[in-house]
Amino acid sequence: MKKQKKLAGLQKRKAISGYIFILPFILGFLLFMLKPMIDSLIMSFQNVELKGSEENIRTFIGMENYRKAFRVDPDFTRLLTEELIRLVVYTLAIIVFSFFISLVLNQEFKGRSVVRAVFFLPVILSSGVILGLESNNQYMAAMQSSVENSVSGISVSAAVESILKTMDIGGAVFDKVFEVIDNIYDVAMASGMQIIIFLSGLQTISSSMYEAASIDGCTRWESLWKITFPMISSLFLVNWIYTVVDFCMRSDNQVITKIQNEMTSKLQYGPASAMSWIYFLFIIAFVGITSFFISKVVYYND
């Protein structure tokens, strides 16, 4: 434990200027984050009635909104579980995919910068409204599913899947794996930033380490696990958190859509706040627990 001592002279001046520098954040946090958060927390225990331009009527109804979200609302529990399962599957897939791609992109070959630029393009192209535009359009969605049905007979993954099924290998895990393979486009579109972060880590590993290992008789495969993996393990944590957060904010996230719909078109502010708090708590718990376990295995070189 550090001893609490009184700041004096230069230290005190520096502390004050430090606070001045982060003042915008403090003000912004208190006004635009903390206040709305507390407000929405309170609202989630209330029945909110909008009265035109007048003040709203708020009555305290206890846990009613939460009970409604779980027990009365026909979709919410289903959407929440679906979205959380999707979150786990896709974050894993994105991390593995981006790690693999960054290993490939770290090698020397012609046209590397072009390929890197292409892989980073989704960060720009699939942000905001552009993402999920097609799935929002019901006709397009209908057409897409009919196309998918007609081509599924000829896809390689379907053939492999049916072979594995007849051999009685498989089950729920394999179903998820095949789902990810079929949606590799979504995975590739969501992993631009992660690839760059991994690449930045890979470039900091000095080549002398690999040389020393290979002189001692280490194969490439072994040095991947013994050198590369530990050296960039801290980036797994960064990427994990980034991916989870990114996934939660995607505009095609069904829970978010549900909450927004509840709020803007049905004007159900109480239940909407309750739902968003449930969702938020689940996400925080998920991020907290998983990053705790990941940080256990992270290796710090310094």
Binding site: K14, A15, G18, F21, I22, P24, F25, L27, G28, F29, L31, F32, M33, P36, M37, S40, M43, V48, E55, V104, Q107, V115, V118, F119, V123, I124, L125, S127, G128, V129, I130, L133, N136, N137, Y139, M140, A142, I184, Y185, A188, I197, L199, S200, Q203, T204, L235, V238, I241, V245, C248, M249, I259, M263, Y269, S276, W277, Y279, F280, I283, V287
Partner: protein, 334 residues
């Protein structure tokens, strides 16, 4: 192929090395070919929707029903672009100007503030620093949608401790004005601002402190040191954060829908382009809203998407290095 070296050709050298040379060369080319196939496939996967959109946007509707036409239009037209830029549908020229102005001002404001805050976190020791930084991480994690319901009401009945109500009699409705969003941006709570703070802080932490100390000794104040000494060094990270802020604001639908209802932006007008076209055609036919065919809505959507991403792609082509390299140079760590 076979280079002459010390009088031996490739096969002789291979024989001398007991076949090691051949094996090594086969592995090398095999890996290169496999890598090329894999990367080509994945790049194609990413680029194909864009290419597809380009070809669809130049087709007439009947081309889409023609089984012979796949990617090269038979009846070439730029009519889709004309329709999409119509004032009633996307109002392209106006919304482009609005979007540029809004994205630029928002990005400048956000990055200016985030740089200040990031520098503060990187260089100064002050009480409760860890707590505040934990809150930055919290801001990164919280989806803005969580607080959107109360944000919505907050600005619908905006008031600072009841001052405005006391003076004018009723709270201010700021929801359809952009002022709240500028305030939010100034408070570093805009779109992904926590991330920018984090990146800037990482960057500043990697710059040695010697320069600043020299400046302090020479009698430079804190603010002056920051502006004169540290800002010029942080150009790369500021550029890339600025580009991100610009692009993400450009395509953002969430805050735009909440605060920019009164003016048309490219992002908001794109998200309702199909409905607008329906209304537009419906008005011509004398009905309320015409049902569009799948092909038609696909076309207009592709055209609209291209029109909104085109400026961004243009930017990306020129500033690709700034986007990619500076993230690599921050050395993100946890």
């Amino acid at each position: 192929m076979t280079k002459k070296k010390a009088g031996f050709n490739f096969w002789e050298r291979n024989r001398l090395s007991n076949g090691y040379l051949l094996r090594k060369r086969i592995t090398k080319y095999g890996v290169a070919i496999l890598r090329a196939i894999l990367l080509f496939g994945l790049c194609f996967l990413i680029l194909q929707p864009v290419l597809n959109k380009i070809s669809v946007s130049f087709m007439e509707e009947r081309d889409l029903y023609d089984p012979v036409v796949i990617s090269i239009p038979k009846h070439f037209t730029i009519g889709n672009y004309k329709i999409a830029s119509d004032p009633l549908i996307m109002d392209y020229s106006n919304s482009l100007v609005h979007s540029i102005v809004v994205s630029l001002t928002i990005a400048i404001l956000q990055i200016a503030m985030c740089t200040l805050v990031g520098y503060g976190f990187a260089r100064f020791q002050f009480p409760l620093k860890k707590v505040w930084f934990a809150l930055v991480i919290l801001v990164i994690i919280i989806p803005p949608q969580t607080i959107s319901s109360s944000l919505y009401l907050h600005f619908n009945f905006f008031d600072i401790f009841g001052i405005i109500k006391a003076t004018t009699g009723s709270p201010l409705n700021l929801r359809n004005s952009p002022i709240p969003y500028y305030l939010i941006s100034a408070g570093c709570m805009g779109l992904k601002n926590g991330l920018y703070i984090y990146m800037v802080r990482q960057y500043f932490r990697n710059i040695p402190v010697d320069l600043e100390e020299a400046a302090y000794i020479d009698g430079c104040g804190t603010l002056k040191t920051f502006i004169r000494i540290m800002l010029p060094q942080a150009k790369p990270i500021i550029t890339s954060c600025f580009l991100f802020a610009f692009v993400w604001q450009w395509t953002d639908g969430f805050y735009s829908k909440l605060f920019f209802q009164s003016i048309s932006l490219v992002s908001t007008s794109l998200s309702r382009i199909v409905a607008s076209l329906g209304v537009y055609i419906g008005r011509a036919q004398g009905t309320v809203q015409a049902q569009l065919t799948v092909a038609r809505s696909n076309q207009i959507l592709s055209t609209g998407t291209l029109m909104i991403v085109f400026p961004v792609i243009f930017l990306y082509l020129f500033a690709q290095r700034a986007f990619v390299e500076s993230i690599a140079s921050t050395g993100i760590k946890m």
